[in-house]
Amino acid sequence: MKIKLTVTLKNGVLDPQGKAIQQTLNGMGFSNVEEVRQGKYFEVEVNEKNEDKAKSKVEEMCKKLLANLVIEDFKIL
């Protein structure tokens, strides 16, 4: 089963890359872009048929490795 998830910076944590992208978009004429936040997207193939079990395993993986909970939040899609 393929579990998809995103890892993004928490609100209030500085995202210099997102800021640079926003400024570039503004410079290109997309003047109504007020903020860009950049994150990561993962697809984890788990050998498990039960969706709840698979998601709970992936949640554990997020907490232990995929996200750094000091500055990042994860969302299993």
Binding site: L14, P16, L66, N68, V70, I71
Partner: protein, 227 residues
């Protein structure tokens, strides 16, 4: 005194560290990341570099590597663990040190000499050191230290902010902050002060003709404190 430098795939300051430690009298051994055990020693060093290509987050993969269990065990027993640059990032990823090292505020790789102020000398690393400000080298893309307000308060209350970026007069201000680190933090201790993580590289400042000698002061002092 015996020291061990851990080599991860992508470490690139391991040999400089080996040279520095031996120059000042440590009997150093190099330990491969896939080894299960670290031979008896007095100091473990996690060197700078780009362990595992900085994949996922800097230091995150090394923070789960085979050897790291022995490092954590050694540290929890009070053994001295020094993490420089990527080594500092690894220490935060293992949870041995609080906080995280984010991308530099200006999104640039910074490679230059900086001054750092030693904030606390009540520890094995800086006890009896006869200088308050050291000129050291930094070379990093992710040195922007960040932690929660509670962690910052805890570190302030316990004097765990080891070194802070400053100017040559020791003034800690925004202009002397190269990477956006919270409160100009360049290095921190754990509560017991046996673990030190810092972004600047003392091993790059051990030759008076090539660089400077403030790194020499650091290593000589450390060795004396361990004798």
């Amino acid at each position: 005194m015996k020291s061990s430098v851990i080599i991860f795939p992508g470490s690139n300051c391991d040999r400089d560290m080996d040279v520095a430690l031996k120059k000042f009298g440590f009997e150093n051994q190099m330990i491969w990341h896939n080894d299960a055990k670290i031979p008896k020693c007095d100091l473990i060093v996690l060197p700078g570099g780009f362990s595992y290509g900085d994949y996922l987050r800097c230091g995150s993969i090394a923070g789960k590597s085979k050897i790291i269990k022995s490092v954590i065990e050694f540290a929890k027993k009070g053994g001295l663990v020094l993490g420089i640059c990527n080594g500092f990032q690894i220490l935060t990823e293992t949870g041995l040190l609080p906080g995280v090292l984010q991308q530099n505020k200006n999104i640039e790789f910074i490679c230059k000499n900086v001054f750092v102020k030693i904030n606390d000398k009540n520890n094995k690393y800086f006890k009896n050191i006869d200088k308050d400000i050291l000129e050291l080298h930094i070379a990093h893309n992710e040195g922007n230290y960040f932690c929660s307000k509670d962690e910052l308060k805890m570190m302030n209350d316990n004097n765990l902010i080891a070194v802070s970026y400053c100017n040559n007069n020791g003034e800690i201000n925004e202009r002397s902050n190269p990477n956006g680190a919270i409160k100009n933090i360049a290095g921190i201790f754990n509560k017991e002060k046996n673990i030190l993580g810092m972004m600047p590289h003392p091993e790059r400042m051990i030759d008076k003709y090539l660089s400077g000698e403030d790194g020499s002061i650091f290593f000589k002092n450390l060795l004396n404190n361990l004798k």
